[in-house]
């Protein structure tokens, strides 16, 4: 470390140094300025605490003042040039890795001076200015560079064409920081920037890394630019990048992987072959061992590579990724960024494949099994094997799961969010939900806590995990309610934020699935019928869908569960009916007709239908159009389930199905004529339940439905393209025909 050249009196007091620097900046003593700049630089280089201290005490404006006065000096001299170099270097140091420093530098007006100095004839000054600007461009606070202005693009190309690696590096950093839109990506590609960056891949380590990062930015999510990059005009660019995945430097390998991931995620056909995919996974897993920034970023890169891609998740599983990621977690004392990345990578890995979830949850089980196994030697082999599996599910994965649950209370918000997302993927396992794995206070208490006073993003992440966990097929849903979970979900179902509202109602819907009557009553008394009714008519179709599914799960069960929709003067039933009436108008609902076949008669057939419920997977938030379809079918199924009840229930459903102003207009017709088989299935089931022959009022209802054209429509559907619809139509026609064909 260089020695300080400060005077002997009070050499280490920042306040004194700043005072002297401030006085010198106003004066003409170049030597003093130089000496103080060097002293300051030596104090702050590599020392974040001191940087922040000097920034707080106002050192930056004095340094920028020296830079500006040297920049506007009438004539260049050695002293002026040294002042420019030293002040630029000090500014770079303040900006390196400290956003507060970048802000202070930009606020003091250093940026235009530094930019001018990049064109200075003195190479040392150019180098110092470029180095400082690179530091600034590492920060999000750096000003956006407008590529679409012709002179700016020319200046950028000029930077990239320089010999000096700090200058070319600056050009690359500017791109990485500022290129955001596809128009900018294309403009850079068209201007030859991509080609130039490709040529820099053969340069120094610094140039290579900066170019790789820029290339990844320019090609990201842009198939047109990617096709140019992998095409003949870019030479061997793709093969050079591929080759760099084997470079001796970890950061270069990581950046090369990120380029290939950008290509793979946007234009998979450009990067075919299992070989390269497996190679990418293996490299990234190996890079996780790097204890620095490279290791941190490798986890995020792996997450990006395998997200939503089952084939790649399978390859990662075969490459032992679950074990490797888990091994890193077990090391403990990882910093926040690393933890976040690993949880997100695990989340992607476990999002679709049960084998990944099982592997993660069963890790570290062997010791436990080894200890117990011999005790059970009395059983025959087949039984023992199955029993060990049972053990795996019941006890073994507490330890692995604890790594995730521990992170739910991590000090860093990003880690808590990533742990929730990971838990969401793990709890997609029906096998474990059935075993009641996640329904315990160790998991539920911190999750419910995250619903209170957390930022929206964290609330949504926690709700995602809760939505899955409360599906729980065991009889312990009351544990969640006892933890205060239902209360919090109800609170969030009233949120002004529609995403929070949607996720909260979704979770309530899943909590209501197959829950006992006592819990149902508790949830409903917390939620209230009026709030539920308002959610059924929520402005967002996706919220409506979940609210209707919630009602459906509410009435699922014994016949008297249908009473819930009749409470408060049929508040919920009217809400469902109104929603269907409003949303199923022909112009909204009728998207086309089903494939109609010739009419055919089927023999009479009885069929009993009892109410059913459902739980919803978290996987994809439905688009609004799809949400509308789901919402309407769920609404119809709610009525269908109520219609499976007693006479009162059936008549109540009839009154909802018929237009209030006309006794012959029935919304079932629109459903039955819809091109989407989901509508048709729901509607036919409702007809089946309403006309079940042994119910006393079935004859009258069949007559009313016939008058509304339902029988005619059903006869047109006997050869429906959907087997499910076809079979239900057969039942419905059989039941209606059992009362006669209406001709007499």
């Amino acid at each position: 470390m260089p020695a300080s050249s400060a005077s002997s009196s009070a050499p280490h007091r920042p306040e004194d140094l700043i005072l002297r620097l401030s006085s010198a900046a106003d004066g003409r003593d170049g030597d003093a300025k130089l000496r103080l700049l060097r002293e300051l630089k030596n104090q702050i280089i590599g020392n974040r605490t001191k940087k922040l201290s000097y920034i707080g005490l106002g050192a930056v404006p004095s340094v920028v003042s020296i830079l500006s006065s040297a920049s506007s000096a009438a004539a260049d001299s050695d002293e002026v040039e040294s002042l420019l170099v030293q002040s630029a270097a000090a500014i770079g140091s303040f900006s390196c890795g400290v956003d507060a420093g970048v802000k202070a530098v930009l606020d003091a007006g250093a940026f235009p001076y530094l930019l001018n100095l990049v064109s200075h004839p003195n190479e040392k000054i150019v180098d110092a200015a470029a180095r400082s600007l690179r530091m600034i461009y590492q920060s999000k606070l750096a000003p956006k560079y407008e590529f679409l202005q012709k002179k700016n693009m020319e200046f950028l190309l000029a930077l990239l064409n320089k010999e000096n690696e700090n200058v070319t590096g600056l050009g690359a950093s500017v791109i990485t920081h500022s290129c955001e839109t596809s128009i900018e990506q294309k403009a850079l590609s068209d201007a030859g920037v991509l080609k130039k960056l490709s040529s820099l891949l053969g340069g120094s380590l610094s140039q290579r890394d900066a170019s790789l990062e820029s290339i990844a930015t320019i090609i990201n999510s842009n198939p047109e630019v990617i096709s140019k990059f992998v095409g003949p005009e870019s030479g061997r660019a793709l093969s050079i990048v591929t080759e760099l995945t084997k470079d001796r430097y970890p950061r270069t390998r990581l950046l090369a992987c990120m380029c290939l991931i950008a290509i793979r995620n946007t234009s998979p056909s450009c990067l075919e072959g299992v070989g390269i995919k497996t190679k990418l996974i293996l490299i990234l897993l190996e890079l996780l061992d790097d204890s620095g920034q490279v290791g941190d970023e490798a986890a995020f890169a792996l997450c990006s590579l395998i997200a939503e891609r089952e084939d790649l998740q399978k390859l990662a599983f075969e490459a032992n990724a679950v074990d490797k990621l888990c091994n890193h977690l077990e090391k403990g004392s990882l910093h926040a960024k690393r933890l976040e990345g690993i949880f997100l990578a695990l989340s992607s890995l476990c999002s679709k494949l049960e084998c990944c979830r099982s592997r993660f949850l069963s890790l570290k089980n062997n010791r436990a099994l080894f200890g117990i196994f011999p005790l059970k030697g009395i059983f025959k082999i087949g039984l023992l094997r199955c029993w060990t599996f049972g053990l795996t599910v019941s006890f073994g994965f507490r330890e692995a799961l604890n790594l995730v649950t521990d992170a739910l209370t991590h000090v860093c918000i990003e880690v808590r969010g990533a742990a929730c997302i990971c838990l969401k993927s793990l709890s997609r396992s029906v096998k474990n939900l059935s075993a009641g794995t996640f329904m315990n206070e160790i998991i539920l208490v911190p999750l419910v806590q995250l619903l209170c006073d957390s930022p929206t993003s964290l609330q949504v992440a926690a709700l995602g995990a809760i939505s899955n966990i409360v599906v729980d097929f065991t009889v312990h849903k009351s544990t969640f309610i006892q933890c205060g979970g239902a209360k919090q979900l109800v609170q969030l179902s009233k949120s002004m934020d529609s995403t929070v509202r949607l996720n909260a109602v979704w979770a309530l819907r899943n909590l209501m699935f197959h829950v006992n009557n006592r819990c149902k009553e508790e949830i409903l008394s917390e939620l209230t019928a009026s709030v539920l009714a308002s959610l059924i008519s929520d402005p967002k179709p996706s919220v409506q869908e979940q609210a209707l599914a919630l009602v459906r799960n509410l009435v699922d069960g014994p016949e008297d569960f249908a009473d819930y929709v009749f409470a408060e003067d049929c508040l919920l039933l009217h809400a469902v009916g109104n929603q269907l009436q409003n949303a199923s108008k022909p112009d909204v609902l009728l998207q086309g007709r089903s494939n109609l076949g010739p009419p055919r008669l089927f023999p009479k057939k009885k069929h009993a239908v009892s109410p059913g419920g459902g739980w919803g997977k978290d996987e994809v938030f439905a688009r609004d159009a799809d949400a509308s379809i789901k919402e309407l079918t769920k609404g119809m199924y709610t009525l269908c389930n109520v219609a499976s009840g007693n006479e009162f229930s059936k008549e109540a459903v009839m009154s909802q199905l018929f237009c209030q102003t006309s006794n012959t207009q029935c919304i079932l017709v629109n459903f039955l004529q819809n091109s989407d088989s989901r509508f048709r299935t729901a509607a036919v089931w409702t007809v089946v339940n309403l006309t079940f022959p042994s119910s006393p009022g079935a004859f009258d209802r069949a007559g009313k439905l016939r008058n509304a054209g339902i029988a005619t429509q059903l006869k047109n559907m006997v050869d429906d393209s959907c087997v499910d619809v076809k079979l239900r139509v057969k039942t419905a026609i059989g039941q209606m025909m059992s009362f006669g064909d209406g001709s007499t």
């Binding site: 059970k376 059983f379 025959k380 082999i381 087949g382 039984l383 023992l384 094997r385 199955c386 029993w387 599996f389 049972g390 599910v393 019941s394 029906v430 096998k431 939900l433 059935s434 075993a435 097929f473 065991t474 699935f513 197959h514 699922d556 069929h607 009993a608 239908v609 009892s610 109410p611 059913g612 419920g613 459902g614 739980w615 919803g616 379809i629 789901k630 079918t633 769920k634 199924y637 269908c640 389930n641 499976s644 088989s677 989901r678 299935t681 729901a682 089931w685 959907c722 087997v723 499910d724 079979l727 239900r728 057969k730």
Partner: protein
């Protein structure tokens, strides 16, 4: 250990899933998540014949992957104090993810055909299944869904319940009436099971 599970009540549970592959069976509302079935399981041995009451509930269904899972509850098992609940996972024979040939669980193709032919609805498929396991069949519009159900673990009892879950079930679901018939196969079962 032959098993028969007859549906007595069923209901549409969820809107059927979209994006069903061309070779997959179409979604059937009677085989959706949440559906419950009840019936009997006939347990034969040289000493006696028993009929256990059985409830089945579907808990998960992923037609794209030919996957189904749920629980099976045996109510009046003589050697158990409480109903015995097991969790099972099923393979749907969709000729995309799974064929009629099991290729595991110690079931040869001869064993497979022997069991599948016990279902009358399998008869029209037999000749082709003998050739390629049914790989070239299009079952997407067939009114029956063939499955294999493998119990994975006991949910509520320990191994001292005296039951084995080492075998698996050949099952056939009727989309028309929602009934399920199944036959258990376990080459290692002792004679008293």
């Amino acid at each position: 250990m032959p098993v028969r599970v007859v549906e007595t009540s069923a209901a549409p549970s969820q809107a059927p899933g979209a994006n069903v592959g061309h070779a997959s069976p179409q979604a059937c509302t009677l085989l959706g998540v949440g559906q419950a079935f009840s019936g009997t399981q006939n347990v034969s041995s040289p000493q006696k014949d028993e009929a256990w009451r059985v409830n089945v509930r579907i808990q998960g269904c992923d037609l794209d992957h030919g996957y189904l899972c749920g629980t099976m509850e045996a109510l009046n098992v003589p050697m158990a104090d409480t109903p015995v609940v097991t969790f099972w996972e099923g393979e749907i024979v969709d000729t995309k993810n799974h064929t009629f040939f099991t290729n595991k669980w110690k079931a040869t193709s001869e064993v497979d055909i022997e069991h599948w032919t016990k279902f009358p609805s399998f008869a029209p498929l037999l000749s082709q299944v003998k050739v390629d396991g049914g790989k070239s069949l299009d079952l997407s519009s067939y009114h029956y869904i063939f499955m294999r159900w493998k119990e994975q673990y006991f949910v509520n009892v320990g191994t001292d319940c005296g039951l084995t879950i080492a075998g698996f079930y050949y099952a056939c679901f009727s989309c028309s009436d929602g009934s399920i018939n199944g036959f258990y196969y376990d080459p290692n079962s002792s004679s008293d099971e």
